[in-house]
């Protein structure tokens, strides 16, 4: 574990130093978006490292540790650390630093005490990470859920925070990285629209405190990373960072989730508005080749894999009947736009339909700063601030293009968590100009701080349970509706839980010590045979479709399976 922690430290140091070295040599003019650029390149570096290690079968503490150590030694030997002194140090007032440090400390605590608990992550994001860690490389096995084949760019970053320790205690740090990216991007945009640095930084902090974004980031969901990358792309565009760097951010986004692509029209429009400021024409050829190929690999890897494995880059989207229990829209639909827009304006923007949570059930999750000061600030600043106006137009187009492409359901606004950025910036803009509004801004910010301690999907009693566990055994399986009834080294997983209440990932254990066998037989004899041949000691069954329900019922009826407790069964 100590060696693993050392590897993680070396890896993080190498990726940060490497990102700084690359950007120093590129010489791209990123201006005040320099920190955003470093974070984007770092995320690209660690994604590429995990991608490479996964493909080569060295995704282990030793493999990734040696890779990290080698990179760190090479960077230090080249004297890259001597250039760190040239990094700009933002001159911020003490209260901004205090607020930022307190919130960072709270985030660190939330990362340490939390355990993956949201259904989407447990059922189809994280089982992949668990399989990769166990196999020390990428596997064909991804779990039983059809959506497991979706792009896994965020899982690469989650694997980074998991592989070194071979433990998931820090897994939420992956989402927090993107939360920092979003905050840095908003701060950079703030300076771009003419706000003083302190106000820009405050806007960044307020954006990070957007309740839906905050809880998404700390719950292993990939919607906060997408929002962070969309805002980061906008910040890079506005700062004139150049096409290669922007393409890298886009590659990261597309590799995480296609919903990044849904927002591209607005980003393109923003780039067209501001094209004269781009500096990419001056960049050397190796930058175009290096950044372009990295962006292509990061953005296309999973789609190409799906073409090779399933013959469809978007597998299983487009397959008839697959998504009957949980429909996903495939293509544009004007009806969705209308329903989504009306729901946003009439109900969800005010967050009155429910508590804050990672999936923003029935709400927008944008918080009171965006609500009370955002639209008003935008109207007030519209005629006076060209950059904010263009940013708002670009974000508005992105908002509409996302809303036309997503189905209307209670959780659909998790895909538009990038939009509060422009509202928070507008709020900062109007409050900085009219100090009489500062008390209102403070009151709204305090409400958001209070609202982001606990979400409804990880209530205080569950956090207390997690805190009482030793960190090495910390798992949300302890308060699952279906806790493990007894110790078992090999657990079979049968069926698909479309409603998100399955515990697939948690069954591996926080240290990935338990082997999970995904069973796919469609008849009772085959199921039992498979269990016996794989040495399955316990069966966890979540039959959702009729064939699975029938198979399980017949196996129990014939005495071939004995119910143990809840969803668990055993062979006689």
């Amino acid at each position: 574990m100590i060696l693993g922690a050392a590897g993680l430290l070396a890896g993080n140091a190498a990726s940060l130093l490497g990102a700084h070295a690359i950007l120093r040599r590129v010489g791209a003019s990123t201006g005040h978006a320099g920190f955003v650029a470093i974070l984007v390149v770092r995320l690209a570096l660690i994604s590429m490292a995990v991608l490479l290690a996964g493909c080569l079968g060295i995704l282990s503490p030793l493999g990734l540790g040696l890779l990290s150590l080698g990179a760190l030694i090479a960077l230090l030997a080249c004297g890259e650390h001597r250039h760190l002194g040239a990094l700009p140090r933002p001159r911020l007032p003490w209260w901004i630093w205090t607020l930022a440090i307190l919130l960072a400390a709270r985030l660190a605590l939330q990362v340490l005490l939390s355990s993956p608990h949201v259904g989407d992550a447990l059922n189809y994001y994280l089982p992949k990470v668990a399989e990769w860690v166990r196999a020390a490389g990428f596997t064909r096995e991804m779990g039983n859920h059809p959506q497991a084949a979706f792009p896994a760019g965020f899982e690469l970053v989650e694997a980074w925070w998991t592989v070194f320790l071979r433990h998931d205690v820090l897994i939420e740090a992956a989402g927090v990285e993107f939360l920092f990216l979003g905050a840095a991007a908003v701060a950079s945009l703030g300076v771009s629209i003419g706000l003083p640095l302190a106000w820009g930084a405050l806007a960044g902090i307020l954006y990070a405190l957007t309740p839906g974004l905050y809880f998404s980031a700390t719950s292993c969901l990939n919607d906060a990373p997408i929002a962070g990358l969309i805002v980061a792309t906008a910040a890079l565009v506005v700062s004139g960072a150049g096409l290669p760097l922007i393409a890298l951010a886009a590659g990261l986004g597309l590799g995480i989730k296609p919903t990044y692509g849904y927002a591209i029209p607005g980003l393109v429009l923003l780039a067209l508005f501001l094209h004269a400021r781009a500096s990419h024409a001056k960049l050397p050829r190796w930058v175009w080749v290096g950044f372009g190929s990295s962006a292509a690999v990061l953005g296309l890897f999973w789609y190409v894999r799906n073409v090779v494995w399933f013959g469809n880059p978007f597998h299983p989207l487009g397959s008839a009947g697959v998504f009957r229990p949980v429909p996903i829209q495939f293509g544009a639909d004007a009806g969705s736009l209308s329903k989504n827009l009306l729901a946003l304006i009439n109900v969800r923007f005010s967050d009155q339909a429910g508590p804050y949570g990672a999936l923003v059930d029935g709400i927008a999750g944008w918080g009171p700063v965006a609500f009370a000061l955002g639209p008003l600030g935008l109207v007030a600043a519209w005629s006076e601030n060209r950059t904010l106006r263009l940013l708002a137009l670009g974000s508005g187009v992105s908002l509409l293009s996302v809303l036309v492409l997503i189905i209307h359901d209670p959780w659909c606004f998790k895909y538009i968590l990038f939009f509060p950025a422009v509202l928070v910036l507008s709020a900062a803009c109007v409050a900085s100009r009219y100090p009489v509004l500062i008390p209102i801004l403070v009151a709204a910010a305090v409400y958001q701080v209070a609202g982001t301690f606990v979400s409804y999907d990880l209530p205080a009693k569950d956090i207390r349970t997690l805190a009482q566990q030793p960190w090495s055994q910390r798992t949300a399986l302890a308060f699952s509706e279906h806790p493990l009834p007894r110790t078992a080294g090999v657990v079979g997983y049968f069926g698909v839980d479309f409603r998100g209440s399955g515990d697939a990932y948690l069954l591996y254990g926080p240290d990935f010590s338990r082997r999970i066998v995904y069973l796919r037989s469609s008849d009772p004899d085959g199921l039992v045979r498979e269990m016996a041949s794989q040495g399955v000691e316990l069966l966890y069954a979540v039959p959702a479709v009729d064939t699975d329900k029938r198979t399980l019922k017949e196996a129990i009826g014939a005495g071939k399976l004995i119910p143990v407790a809840g969803r668990y069964y055993a062979l006689p």
């Binding site: 304006i345 508590p355 609500f371 009219y434 609202g451 209530p459």
Partner: protein, 100 residues
């Protein structure tokens, strides 16, 4: 365009501007107000954020000097924050209440 509108409005000492672009900008908040009046129930109308925003927008266009008056900004944002808190606080209280 809005600058034209506010200039026009200012020139007419607060009277509604008459230029084409000014009229177009006036039409937006007016349209929003009309839409809400026709679609939102009277009970919800007072706390409706679109109505509050449209009125602010309208005032800013028609009375540009008044629109930036701190009292109007403070009043509008206070109303919007109160609307938000009134609707969401029961949920926050429930989540915090569950902590005890």
């Amino acid at each position: 365009m809005m600058r034209t509108a506010t200039k026009e409005a200012g020139r007419h000492e607060g009277l509604v501007a008459t230029s084409g672009s000014a009229m177009a900008w006036m039409a937006l908040p007016a349209g929003l107000l009309l839409w809400r009046l026709l679609t939102v129930s009277p009970a919800r109308l007072v706390g409706d954020w679109v109505v509050i925003l449209a009125i602010f927008w309208w005032v800013k266009l028609v009375r540009p000097k008044l629109a930036v008056a701190p009292a109007i900004l403070l009043g509008t944002t206070t109303l919007l924050l109160a609307t938000y808190v009134r609707g969401h606080f029961p949920h926050l209280a429930a989540v915090w209440g569950a902590m005890r």
